[in-house]
Amino acid sequence: MEMARQKIDKIDINILRNLQRDARTKYSDIAKQSQVSVDTIIKRYRKLQKRGIITNTTLLLDPRRFGDEVIANFNIDVEPQSIKEVIAFLEKQPNIKFSTHAMGEDNIFTIATARNMNEMNNLKEKIQSHNMVREVKTSIWVDQFLLCPENFELEPLMEAKR
C-alpha cells in the first residue's frame, strides 16, 4: 500500500499540537514555545497547508445545541452486491452525516443526527424499507461524546522518509 506519510519536524509538530488544542492559538505563543520567530511559524503553517497536511481549521460544536438532539450510528447489513447503491441512497438523506463501506460484521456504517427520537426512528424505518437492506442495528449516543484531537500520533513522522 502506498504511504502518503510526510516528513515533519519538531516545529511543525508544535504548530499542529497547539492548533489541535485550540485553533485560535496566537502564532506569537507558538513561536515563543518553539524558540523561533513569528515569521518562521507563519511560513511553516502555510507550508503545512500547502503540503495538504492541514486542510482547514474549524470550531468543534455540540450538535445538540444546534437542534440535532439525537445522534446515532447504524450498522447496516445489505446484500453485498448493493453496497454502493445503498451508500448512495443513504447519502441523499439529509440526516445522515457520514456513511462508509465497513469491513466487519455489517457492511455499512453510518452516523446520523436528528432533531428528536421520532425523526431518528423515521430515518431508521426509511433505511429498513430499502429492498437491499437486510438488517439495521441502531446505537443511540448518550451524554456528551468525548473528543480528543490531540491523540493523533505525530512524532513517528519525524523519522519518516519523504
Partner: protein, 151 residues
C-alpha cells in the same frame, strides 16, 4: 445559541477558526468587542466546545479509521464513565461515546495499518470491565464532519 449574530459568528469560524474577530466585526458591521463577548458566551454555554485544526490523516501516516463497539461488564468498580476516561486518553482514539442499543460504548480510532488496528483492539480489550468488542475498519481517507467529530 439564540441570536442571528451568534449564528453568523459560528458560520465564519466553522469555515476558518482562525478568522480574526476584527474581520468578523467588519463583515457583520458590529464592534470587535461585541464579537468577542458573543464568542465568549458561546464558549461558556458549551455551544462551542473548542476549535481545532483538521488534518489529512493519510498525510500523517494513517491508512484508515476503525470503529470499536464495546460491551461492558457492570459492577460497582466498573462504570462506563471510568472506561470512557481510559479510552479517550489512549493514543489514536479520537471519539468516544456512551451508547444505548446494541452496545454500551462506541469508539473511533485512527489506524496506521492492520497490525496497528489489532494492537488497538488488544489494548482496549485489556481495560478492566470490557466484556466484548466488535469492530469495523473503514478504509481510505474518510471525512466525517469535522465540526462535530474532528475528522
Amino acid at each position: 445559541m439564540s441570536t442571528p449574530l451568534d449564528k453568523e459568528i459560528v458560520k465564519y469560524l466553522t469555515e476558518d477558526a482562525r478568522m480574526s474577530f476584527r474581520k468578523i466585526a467588519n463583515i457583520t458591521d458590529k464592534s470587535t468587542d461585541t464579537i468577542i463577548n458573543h464568542y465568549n458566551s458561546l464558549i461558556e454555554s458549551g455551544d462551542i466546545r473548542g476549535s481545532t485544526v483538521v488534518v489529512d490523516i493519510e498525510k500523517i501516516g494513517y491508512q484508515g479509521i476503525a470503529a470499536f463497539e464495546i460491551d461492558i461488564t457492570r459492577s460497582d468498580e466498573v462504570t462506563s464513565e471510568k472506561i470512557m476516561e481510559t479510552l479517550i486518553v489512549m493514543p489514536n482514539v479520537i471519539v468516544a461515546t456512551k451508547t444505548v442499543g446494541e452496545h454500551d460504548i462506541m469508539v473511533l480510532a485512527v489506524i496506521h495499518d492492520l497490525e496497528h488496528y489489532q494492537q488497538i483492539c488488544e489494548e482496549i480489550g485489556q481495560i478492566n470491565g470490557i466484556k466484548n468488542i466488535s469492530s469495523d475498519i473503514w478504509s481510505g481517507n474518510k471525512k466525517i464532519l469535522p465540526k462535530y467529530f474532528i475528522i
